[in-house]
Symmetry: C2
Subunit: 473 residues, 2 copies
């Protein structure tokens, strides 16, 4: 909490020097913070609410912040910091338009952002800056898509040759690095959802252990017929459970093409022996991986293809992660009707690497579209914006995420009946928020019709010109 | 110095956790630093040399760093940090290819980068990150083009309405902020060259003091006929001298169009009375401003148009700042032949906002082109790469500066006879340096044929694909 308070001071000052001699003239005496629960465990579903009362300027009294948990209090501090402005004439910090009386809590308990460290390695300082800005927008889950076809950057102590699949000797994370990320995020109220995407999207696993490939010439999905495959998954999830202490682990399961299984002789024989075709083997693989995850105490997130193909077989502890189906298109409705939980990341509106997805699409994308039954609504845990890494590295990640992700964050936090009905009610506020991000050192792009646009000409951040050119994705 | 050493440790670790239990196994015991001069004043022309000796790995002995000044020692620490690599297997820091014996010093004493805070405001954290990365490339002057036609962001205590010309109430720097930037840069061995660009490029001055304009409808250059104009310049330079303690101040002087002077009745009368035309008034203005700067203890930098138009009249304490003339095109030769000093920023090769200026152009641009007389060569103080702000703000400045500026930095540091003769000798090294910048949290772009390019597909930083598309400047 002390760390959170010191960070607040840094944010409010934004580098400007305060005139300390004026500290007691017509200003707040301080901020009283009361936190009810002594438990500072960060877990899915904790109380994130807070009440903030700020008296009028000049009262020489205290502001008050109350919260059930330290994480609710961090959100309250974040709000407090965003009501402060440095006054360049008096050199003091002013609270805008006080008095304020704010009772606040999120609409959705899961408000995520996905990063992808397989298509490009993201250095640790880059990941930390993403986490910093997530806290400014009250997002609370960093979905770390660690591994994919292209590279395996993370150390797995149980199977130490796995990260032979890293791009290079330098583009790696130790398990201690991962623990550092988990701790850094926790201090900002953010959980880490670790993902291994199996059985497809896992070619890089076989660089260190080629027996995980169907054959040297047909390298994915992971060999379903080999017990070693499941031993490795068990080892990874065992190692994960010591560091990634979020309630959920993500097991992927998307875009599985079983042709290598059908054409590789020893797997073809295995399928025949077990009376399975490739689709059935895909189901067998995913369900067995789910069992392993459950045995390590995790609940499971899987991409929507698993539900589409064998939804009735999934563990009741599965969260279905939508990405293909358009918002309100039926997939989420079916999953919650079956009693499964869902996260919404429909790509047409919430994929940040789609530069032509506008900030208005990010803002207007409603996870509860066409879901009216209150019991079903409760099963939609929230949503997640995704920045897949094919064209994203340390040089362009910030300006591709921000400010569009902030538009989605507002959708996920704000009560439905208080949300703007039209983007024109949002533009000014989001534009100013982009300037706030810039002042805090985040390279958020101008609020344009394109992601990652650049300024078209001189001007104030608060009245920014932007280009209409189409940049290559 | 202690700060420099702690920063070094942060850089070397790049966020990775060191295994402390291994700290004494086959590693250096430490680094001995000997600095000859107790004077830690940072000024133009100080000794920046250093000698670094690193024994072979495993010797359990000390490395040695010797320097005349603390700023030479900081360069030595920077070199040391760039020889270190985190070993992901042993979790220790390794020194690459030791032993090393390095005797190093810069070829040019002025190695600059220009930023422009008038066309877009740059937040303080953004400026600090630019300074951080300058230190990584051993650049030693940040040329701060503070004010221009579009906005006047800096507080001037003597004339407090000047920053009414800021874009907004927030897009401002207090003089305490400026002092903070000077100090932050000094601790990294970097001087700040402050600029007021007069008499053109100064429209924003008149927002607070309209009497500085020729008339409300013809707003620049500054009114040459009004004594108040020179009082304001004197006030600014007086305020500057308390904070900007570099030997030089930049007085601009480029792109002056005197038509407002010739058409505004009271100035037309004044010209007539003083028997001047607009060109002569331009000379009068610049020379009078030079006198004011000299009276405050500054030597002067002026853009090349001043030399082109009345070079023989300039103070001998003038440094001519080239930008229009192509490298080796004659301007610099003429100025040094006249005994004036020069800085080279020829736009075709060293303007970073020109996205089509390639890294090879940045690297191959030789300030001494066609200057063979050793006495004349000494008058070329060095060079400066410039990132003008029309299309540059907090969202795109880092990836537009880096890595191209690093290519110019190598040109300015390295002895001429040791410089690469062909870009192919540079590509690998510069490419790896870009990855180092990324690891340190700097958003340096892929080494492409364009500035600010983005990755075209997945891959290692060390083998990065890039686009060939033309992005809008």
């Amino acid at each position: 909490m002390k760390g959170g308070f010191l960070r607040l001071l840094d944010l409010v000052e934004a580098g400007h020097a305060i005139d300390a001699s004026k500290n007691n003239v017509g200003l707040l005496k301080g901020l009283h913070i009361v936190i009810s629960s002594p438990d500072d465990t960060l877990q899915y579903g904790i109380d994130e609410s807070y009440d903030l009362y700020i008296p009028s300027n000049g009262d020489s009294v205290y502001a008050h912040l109350k919260a059930q948990t330290v994480y609710g209090a961090l959100h309250g501090l974040q709000t407090f910091s965003q009501l402060c402005r440095f006054n360049f004439i008096t050199k003091t910090i002013e609270l805008q338009r006080a008095p304020w009386s704010i009772a606040d809590e999120p609409r959705f308990s899961y408000r995520g952002l996905l990063i992808d460290t397989s298509r490009h390695y993201l250095p640790l300082p880059t990941i930390k800056k993403v986490i910093d800005a997530m806290a400014y927008t009250k997002l609370n889950v960093l979905h770390w898509h660690i591994v994919d076809t292209q590279s395996f950057p993370l150390e797995i102590p149980s199977y130490p040759k796995l990260w032979n699949g890293a791009y290079s000797g330098a583009e790696r994370y130790t398990m201690a690095d991962a623990a550092g990320i988990v701790d850094y995020a926790r201090r900002r109220g953010i959980n880490i959802l670790a993902e291994i995407d199996i059985p497809g999207h896992a070619l890089s696993w076989g660089i260190g252990y080629p027996q995980l490939w169907p054959s040297p010439s047909c390298q994915q999905p992971l060999d379903v017929s080999n017990e070693f495959t499941f031993q490795v998954i068990d080892g990874i999830l065992s190692d994960f459970s010591k560091v990634f202490n979020f309630k959920f682990v993500h097991l992927g399961g998307d875009e599985v093409n079983g042709s290598c299984w059908e054409t590789t002789p020893h797997i073809k024989d295995w399928l025949h022996k077990h009376q399975m075709n490739a689709s059935e083997a895909y189901e067998y693989f995913v369900l067995r991986a789910q069992e392993i995850a459950l045995s390590h105490g995790y609940e499971i997130v899987n991409w929507e293809e698993t539900f589409r193909n064998f939804g009735s077989k999934l563990s009741p502890k599965t969260v279905v992660h939508n990405w293909l189906d358009r918002v309100g298109g039926g997939l989420v409705q079916k999953a919650v009707a079956q009693g499964l939980r869902c996260i919404v990341s429909n790509q047409e509106n919430w994929y940040l690497d789609h530069l032509d997805a506008t900030w208005t699409q990010f803002h207007m994308n409603e996870p509860l579209t066409n879901i009216t039954n209150p019991d079903h609504q409760k099963l939609v845990l929230g949503g997640e914006v995704c920045i897949w890494g094919e064209t994203i590295d340390a040089s362009d990640i910030e300006q591709t995420i921000w400010p569009r992700a902030a538009a989605a964050a507002e959708r996920m936090w704000t009560p439905l009946d208080q949300l703007a009905r039209h983007p024109r009610e949002v533009r000014g506020r989001l534009s100013r928020f982009r300037c706030l991000l810039n002042q805090r050192g985040v390279a958020a792009a101008p609020l344009s019709w394109l992601g990652r646009d650049v300024p078209a000409g001189p001007g104030s951040c608060y009245n920014q010109l932007y280009n209409y050119i189409v940049q290559k994705k």
